[in-house]
Symmetry: C2
Subunit: 225 residues, 2 copies
Amino acid sequence: MIKRFVIIVAGGSGERMKSPLPKQFIEIKGKPVLMHTIETFYGFDNSISIVVVLPADQIGYWKDVCIKGDFSIPHDLVAGGETRFGSVKNGLDVIPDNVLVAIHDGVRPFVNSETIGRCFCEAEKYGNAIPCISVNDTVRRVDNYNSFIIDRLNLRLIQTPQVFLSGLIKESFNQPYLPDFTDDASVFEKSGGNVHLVEGNRENIKITDPFDLFLAEFLINRTIV
Amino acid sequence: MIKRFVIIVAGGSGERMKSPLPKQFIEIKGKPVLMHTIETFYGFDNSISIVVVLPADQIGYWKDVCIKGDFSIPHDLVAGGETRFGSVKNGLDVIPDNVLVAIHDGVRPFVNSETIGRCFCEAEKYGNAIPCISVNDTVRRVDNYNSFIIDRLNLRLIQTPQVFLSGLIKESFNQPYLPDFTDDASVFEKSGGNVHLVEGNRENIKITDPFDLFLAEFLINRTIV
């Protein structure tokens, strides 16, 4: 088996959450979201190498929180960049070539082991694996004053962890940043990669606004003991 | 103010829910989903006229459930058709012209009063109002073996109640059924109507699969007392 790494990117502010605390540090069940996310990957495979990317000015705070919370899961810390792209790139700089690397949002603690496992296995075969779920609602595209229906059967909501052979994704991150890089698959694709979609899990929500946090408080009691 | 009606369409099976009981009858907090939905509209405006569309062979069961549950919110019952389109059409047959009619999924009990009010007010001005929410995730469109990123900023997930001036929507439902009528706005649009989108609410989920039911059990304790 190829050696496995995960880069957990936690560069968010509390803006959309309407909180002074960056969203990765908001507590659910008495513990910061980011700790839950780290525990999820460690629970999946305790030999995985974990790299956490945080804004430089949050690293001291995080270290304190880990000491106070007696949090002992080993992880390396890397200072983030100005954009998510920059942060991931900084994380990739410490990843060796010829390994598998998962890139995961720090505020998605509810990815399950099946999804993580599926992403690593398929990425080993196909060079990458991007988890997604189908859409249950009718979807419309807004265009100035009009809107048009889009066939939902062909749509997928993209999640993380997005897993890649490290050499391929490191190469992709050598290209210049573009504003339409909303995830790592889009960076990979722009450099010529062929995105390989795999099934994600419904409860793998990105905790972004107060409604997500409200759901998270519920999910935590059911999925993480 | 124009007189207000709501058609609550409950034609679902328990298929995706993996339940022998049709999803509108599954209980949350000791009461069928459909009762919660009716209560939501009655709570919004107790002078609203409520029409519930059910498959013909479920009407007897529903009447029994209402008697046993001492459920006294007045509502008319109409037998559904073979498709959702047919069911809505049957419901519209009992709606007068020159009123406002909301068409709502029976399994969306968590629409809030703000959304319902907004839809009725805007439909009075624009002839229709379709609630929607924005998309937080990266979205891709799958096309055979490839997939392409779609700009999520222009996408909207469509909800109900979809509110119309009754004369307009009744006219739209005179056209022949097409399989791509996934909601009432698409029927309205096909007959030349210009869809008017308004803001919905995040917790207005359609209870479709076990994960939705799991969320519903949580939401019910927070939003409906």
